[in-house]
Amino acid sequence: MPSYISKCAGPPPLVFFSSASIVPSFLPFRFSCNTLCCWCHSFRPSLPSVSTSPTPPPLSKCAAPPPLSDSSSAADHVVQRHHRRSTLSLHSAMSIFGGMIARKFSSATTRSLHVCVVGSGPAGFYTAEKMLKAHKGAEVDIIDRLPTPFGLVRSGVAPDHPETKIVINQFSRVAHNERCSFFGNVTLGSSISLSELRQIYHVVVLAYGAESDRVLGIPGEELKGVHSAREFVWWYNGHPDFSNLTPDLKSTDTAIVLGQGNVALDVARILLRSPKELSTTDIANHALTALSESSIRKVYLVGRRGPVQAACTAKELREILAIKDLYVNIKEADLVKTSSDEEEMKNNRIRKRVFELLSKASTSRSPSQSSGQRELHFTFFRKPDKFLESYDKSGYVDGVHFEKTTLKENDSGNQIAIGTGEYEDIKCGLVLKSIGYKSIPIDGLPFDQSKGVVPNIKGRVISSSNGGENEDGLYVCGWLKRGPTGIIATNLYDAEETVASISEDIEKKEVTSQKAGREGLVHLLENKKIKFVTFGDWEKIDFEEKKVGSLKGKPREKLATWNDLLEVTTK
């Protein structure tokens, strides 16, 4: 019998509901509700290790819907106030029925299927959501190496794209599901091995993404001032591993971004947007300071192929072209299409619309640029050949040596870039390589080094030693499964596929073995003295970040170091 019902403190004081106006504006609704509302934390599971606290831990257990968005608008407050009223109306009823429900519930929970999802980004959360839905007897634990959940929604999505982060609301509801638990600060491969996980759980789904970068393999790649776009993104998004990246934005006026995908457009936009506009986003404080002092005025977005092959999507392109007072340079000669280009565009709506936007931008730009104006140069048909080292500053990048390219159709009908033997240098003091992410293998996991993914069929991991058979109970989802492409929603379909495979396998081979599941994990982590972070702990971080952010007019101020993050969880 779960002990949580005993924590119910009865109906909240009425004064709370009539004093909404004295609740500070930064206070997230969930907190207000949770501190005073018994049923919010009444129905949450108590983890063995955290149930010893004599007082209900703040923030951790409210099942009420999360705040509507990161920024608390006046409208949000109205909605939130309304919800408090409903809560009040329901409250007495809940107190009466609470015990009854809990009894009914505890007898109905014969949880036979223990599932562990590794990684709490979109792929992990969508997998958890689908698993919980498909298997009413499943208990799903999500582990993550960071103390914070949501993966790239937190550390990848650009700070000026708050709408894209709204999906966090949905993921939070998954985490609040009574059969779901989050274990942050747990690293697969060091805190716990894959074989240990597989011993504890019936099903292990790896959804830990791609935390490394593809390399160009050309001379000078190690020079200072050459970064991967991922590092730069993690830096401005306050990822604790890269908050000390400190890219030098002050000794140069030019940055080169290699690649023309959405990540490339994101980093270019962050470099070119006015820091004042960024100051109201959740951009990391250290990044905002550095960008405010940045001397970079000119950004080159360089692609090996032409405008028809640019990998970005229309939304991101439209957005960067709309930056205020920005001089956009696209060479008209680059916009000449071949018949192969026409064919490519005919079959691809995105390519067609991106090309149209680029064409429009090349003709509508102002004829002359004013001094000091920020500049964006789309540079097509250039392949980086080597990075140039500065004469004055040894070890630092000073420019990129490019080879001009032309397009040629390969055997599979794709147009690929072929060097022409002509070269051109572009000077710069900062290079951001946005040429793709790469997954990292772990011990005991089959891994296709060339493709950078785990070999799988519809999410079922294929054994490397076992004659190509499936690894029992081991699955993949997201970038680790299909490579680092696609949008957040791609993971929705991806998770559906993986969960369908899991369901099929369970149907074929009934789960009879007993596994320790969550209890086993907690036991193991405690034995190893690993201090894991619960979803409630994350909500303390979330609360703290929003509180500090509200004082600065930001939706949140991210805690950007491991120490800061972990310290808040112990409060």
Binding site: S73, A74, A93, H176, R318, R349, I488
Partner: protein, 202 residues
Amino acid sequence: MPSFPLLLGPFELIGGCVVSENTMFTSKSLQLGAQAIEGLSKVSRFSKSALPVTITQRKSYIQGRELFSTTPTDNADKVNEETQKISVTFVDKDGEEKQIKVPIGMSMLEAAHQNDIELEGACEGSLACSTCHVIVMDVEQYNKLEEPTDEENDMLDLAFGLTETSRLGCQVIAKPELDGLRLALPAATRNFAVDGFKPKPH
């Protein structure tokens, strides 16, 4: 005053499926509208009756940027409210049909969620994702809709199983001419293939 049997959230939480069955979302327009209403009622959060507890609430609809509010005691208004709903049929992934009544001014995303139709809404109607993609099954009905904006098209670019009559559910707003609207959820395209429907790329 009409009474609405409310779902008590925790029941679903206990069942463990609150996430997808009772997805709460709020569109930008709803948030705007909400500023005007003190007693805003979000029925969707409490749809599905599970307990014999009825809570009397004032009912008001936030619709697009307009506000339609009925005085619950007024029968004339109640009739008026009935006439201000259109009938919409959703065809799910397996070809199962569900007909619902949608108040004029409400988006199909919001209507779907109020009626437990499984339509994702990752960005909650803020035009930042493509998860509420629906396919208008009748071209004539499709033509009655306003042209999609550039922003909607940008998201449709990324939609799974795009067809010539695809739209985002959050951008299709109920209006009288759309009565009888039939919307398919994307994976259902394989079902219309049987009826001679051939999805084409744009």
